[in-house]
Assembly symmetry: C3
Homo-oligomer: 489 residues x 3
């Protein structure tokens, strides 16, 4: 490899510089650095594990194309997505174009562009993850730059061709104890079944995500409903059959190891409709006559219904609120969703969650984990709610806030009011499999540093801090997602 600058990754990185605090942070971090990873929420493709010979493709296919954190920042500086290997979904690319994009020459051009702009990631969490992926996982010694870009490309490509870099091998190397994928309500979980059938022992669990069959304003809704009908054996022709089909699939997901569901909505509004009204709305949706008001009411109602089902079947309910999807319409039309153009909005929880929490929040069978992109709600609404209702817990800092400062703000805003045990540790929430260790490592480091800060200010003693770092790094996530209860396999 050409000689360049090496990475700057000392063992006490991301810790406060105060020597007393740093020493304690390092002690706490080292106590959990090698614990297995609990990954209860994420978007890794299970197909990576169903075939023991699956590979990650090229460096570009591994590190750039699937990671909207990466290409969003390049796009914001005027780099067109077409130059980054992202394929338009609008059919404007010819077969020839596609074939060219798969070629090494094009891939190398993308990589060069990435290297030329690598300075843009300075001080960003993506920069941290990339450094860790390149150095720790892929063995790249030098910082990426324009001059060494092609040599590093060669190095990574060679690594990815070796058996040690197949997904299952990395799963073991990363010391993942259990990982949950995210799967549509109508998914037959064929990859999960194949994993089981293969005899491989990796603990890969599905998560039940019903959004696509609830959100009837999306173009793909009817297709999702059909898939649900097929998978469940309950033909969904009504609200009543929708509920039956969902209940059937939840039970099926449970047999496949699922312990949780996941639901997203722009608003946190919850509200119960009379059954006849829910049915009427659903019929309007089936006939293409539903309104935006219908959609809001139905979303609010289905959150209530999901809570009811969770209370009955014990699946932990996750709720993510506040992302305005596909904000950039031209980009959406050309490239589809998940292109780095989802923008958070203000969210209200105190009033919106009240109906749901009043009905199910005191029930010991129910567990609700809430995520937000609106940090102003941490200390004002979410920590007080989690610090009162037995059923509610607060999820880790989400998405844009899964960063050193984001984590610090979370820990400092939430813990005093909610108490540590009303939170659920960490999850990586990523489709970039290679970034998983880096994300957990960053969380463990920031938590160790936060706890060291409490120790040097005598807020807790060292013995307590050692308990708390175990909670944050491993135990809380395992308990909150019922991974400690054994699967139903």
């Amino acid at each position: 490899m050409t000689k360049g600058k090496t990475w700057f990754l000392p063992p006490d990185r991301y810790f406060d510089p105060d020597p007393a605090r740093r020493g304690i942070a390092l002690e706490l971090y080292q106590a959990v650095a090698d614990l297995p990873l609990i990954c209860p929420h994420g978007h890794v493709n299970p197909a990576l594990f169903s075939d023991q010979n699956a590979t990650f493709g090229s460096p570009v296919e591994l590190l750039i194309i699937p990671d909207h954190y990466v290409f969003r920042l390049l796009y914001s500086h005027g780099v067109p997505l077409e130059k980054l290997g992202i394929r338009p979904a609008d059919g404007t690319l010819t077969e020839e174009d596609h074939s060219r994009q798969s070629g090494t020459e094009y891939q190398r051009q993308v990589w060069q562009l990435f290297a030329d702009n690598f300075y843009l990631f300075r001080g960003t969490p993506t920069g941290i993850w990339l450094a860790s992926e390149l150095h720790d996982v892929l063995g790249v010694d030098e910082k990426l730059n324009s001059a060494n870009a092609q040599a590093i490309y060669d190095h990574i490509a060679a690594r990815l061709a070796s058996p040690e870099f197949r997904p299952r091998a990395l799963f073991d190397r990363f010391h993942i104890e259990a990982i949950a994928t995210t799967d549509g309500a109508g998914d037959r979980l064929l990859h999960h079944q194949a994993i089981r059938a293969s005899g491989w022992q990796g603990d890969i669990r599905p998560t039940f995500r019903p959004d696509a069959v609830i959100n009837f304003l999306l173009p793909a809704w009817r297709k999702a409903v059909d898939a649900l009908s097929d998978a469940s054996g309950v033909t969904v022709v009504s609200y009543a059959t929708l509920i039956r089909a969902l209940e059937h699939q939840r039970a099926f997901f449970k047999t496949m190891g699922a312990t949780a569901t996941d639901q997203g909505a722009q608003s946190a509004y919850t509200d119960s409709l009379p059954i006849q009204e829910a049915e009427a709305i659903f019929q309007r949706a089936l006939h293409g006559e539903a309104t935006v008001e219908d959609w809001q009411s139905f979303t609010a109602h289905m959150l209530m219904e999901s809570a009811r089902m969770s209370t009955e079947d014990g699946l932990v309910m996750q709720f993510h609120a506040g992302s305005v999807r596909n904000h950039n319409e031209a980009l959406f039309e050309r490239f589809g969703p998940d292109m780095g153009a989802d923008i958070p909005e203000r969210n209200e929880f105190t009033h919106n969650l009240r109906p749901l929490l009043n009905r199910f929040g005191n029930d010991p069978r129910f567990s609700l984990i809430v995520f937000t992109l609106d940090e102003a709600a941490y200390s004002r609404e979410l920590a007080p709610l989690a610090g009162h209702y037995p059923a509610m817990k607060l999820g880790p800092p989400w998405w844009f806030h899964d960063s050193p400062n984001g984590m610090r703000r979370y820990l400092e805003s939430v813990m005093e009011t909610a108490g540590l045990h009303n939170t659920v540790g960490f999850n990586d929430d990523t489709r970039a499999f290679l970034s998983i260790p880096a994300r957990h490592d960053l969380w463990r480091r920031i938590c160790a540093d936060w706890l060291a800060g409490l120790v040097v200010r005598s807020m807790v003693d060292l013995e307590e801090a050692h308990e708390m770092i175990q909670d944050l790094a491993y135990r809380l996530a395992r308990q909150a997602y019922h991974f400690d209860r054994g699967g139903q396999q």
Copy 2:
């Protein structure tokens, strides 16, 4: 007492670990650590002081039952309030149940449950206060745990039986210079009168709180209005008589040493109604026909009226906004209010306070102290308002934010824009009498540490910091609440 771990309470606790900063923080803290306590806003029961032989009851009655900060967190982990000595208000408990709950065996069970879950308070302000109460006030050497719970119960119970632990004795030991209680508009202040009549010199002042006679949607409203009629001698049958009765009682409170009023509302909306409209709404309320809109208008109007009265009679007006009371309806029905289920909501001040500030904000006779639970309003709305209007000052971090991080965020967000002298020092706002020294001590420590941070960054010099810590710890509260003007006794 069984041998356990001792508390971790070094003299420089809660300070930043940087040696330079810590040294200055300690110097500043020590300069004010023994100053008398000014307690201008709180909820201590004056009955504790009217009878010189009053006691605090059992350890559970002292530390758990009256402190919703404590039992809220236990409840959030699934501990039913019934197991914590909280008495349902819905009449479902028999006399026998009540008698059993007063028994030592039950009290010890509650205490054990508290000790078993004591780890939940790690890193919370309640954990800080409890450590201070147990160690500093009650002489408990060991950290509370499951094994030593009963021995510590015995120890505390023995202390509480001694004369040194009667309320008046602790009032002196805590070095309280003056304390204000909170009292309904229709209160005859019998306990305050008894304190005066007793010849005891403790300075206990009432605060005029008219909420119960304004908020006509509350079930207890009519009873509160009747009490106001009785106490004032003005039979309240109209808006006009309501105002007369309130004015009468404010004058009476002043003769009893009151220097301030306190008003709370969900929203900060202020607006003047024409008198005829205020009268019409009040008549609808008397006839049980008032609407939610009536209630909003009347609340807004009565804030204006209170400001007018304060401008005329000189009582400092306190205004607390943003708490959604009794969020958990099932809990409210069974146990009543103040059960740890009040949840903050977003608040708007710039537009809502404009009518009030435009009418009275430039008047040198008027003083308004505003409190919020919405920290996003600190730097955006409240500090700019307090930094402009002569009449407006900003109250200390309130409720959930009366914590190390809450105080830090307040100091860092407010002071640059409002300036120190548009704030009013500290108040403890508590009904847990034993926690008062701990709360003031924490404020003094966090302020000393904040000022030390300014000194080491050369924002202020040490001489200025010494002035500012006197302001924060003692002088600002005394001035803002007119405790420096002598009582009207």
Copy 3:
């Protein structure tokens, strides 16, 4: 001068006390401390530079009267503006009064009042700027206090009388590379023309501010429209002629060196109207029949039109949102605008900017710089938007947030998500010319300290930090405002 306390201004002021961090901060700061100042947004009066013999007047006329940051805080403590040399705009002052106010005796009284209350600025950014202005620029060795007030007045007055303290001399001494003023759409830029004609080489550029001709609810609107007609030669009698006149003037401003426009609005709402509707609203405005809804629609529409023009003519578009102007109505009636009574309000950007960003946000010719007073929007809305749209960048911390903590919150909330290169460095935004070096110096210090914090936590290495401090102190502002492209002179 009477002997008093000297200022406390060590070379490493405003840096974190950790020795490792402080050392790096000082190194980074020193690398940029003497770089020229780029001042792309501000409110300095160009008349200061058009006449080579212009002076700043008395100490009071220099430091107090033009600085609402200063007199706002004095006013909030009950000092009437009349006692601070502020002239009522309501015609209640006689000629005799005015003449008295210009007299030395009155000026000295104001200065004494300022000195007596100088403690109010402790810990505020204004306190920092004043210390720097008095010490660094004016050579005042002692801290201002009641005793030395008059001696310091003499000292400053003497300085201001010397040629070294004329505006052009200070422009050179301050090492200002380029400064942009803010000028109404109908301004003929006579002072800018005079500067050019004088042969003086100072780079003073106008900025095109069309607010006064758009905001038809303001009393001075028609006068502003007439000025626009006169200046442009296009008689504005319709929406169509308004657009033509604006386009004409933008072109004229460009010939005078302008590279940017500036627009303000209470809300960030953007929306395109059909031309006929825009025309209809404008006609209603001309006939005095426009409504508040008209005004909102037209403001939203004109933001879109400005973006279109910027896309076509290349002027960088600045947008400031969220200030409720003239909150204190009595003060406004007596003294007019800019009296320290503008109060921020909550702002929404995700939905409001969507129409504008969808239409122009992907266009490489367009550049939009957004400012906010609502810090809650930094990490939630603005950083994600700037981190996606190629055209959008985020302006520096604005107004109340142009302070040590305000800058820190900005850097910590914005940079992780937006990335440094989607921000635009600093601007001083001031009409107080003397405070310009202090403001830039504070920014450079806080940025150096922030970067040092990243280095000691190994977020970036020292080499990267050196690049980044050059960006923050100089390069980003120069690039974002196209000062690197040469003028059109």
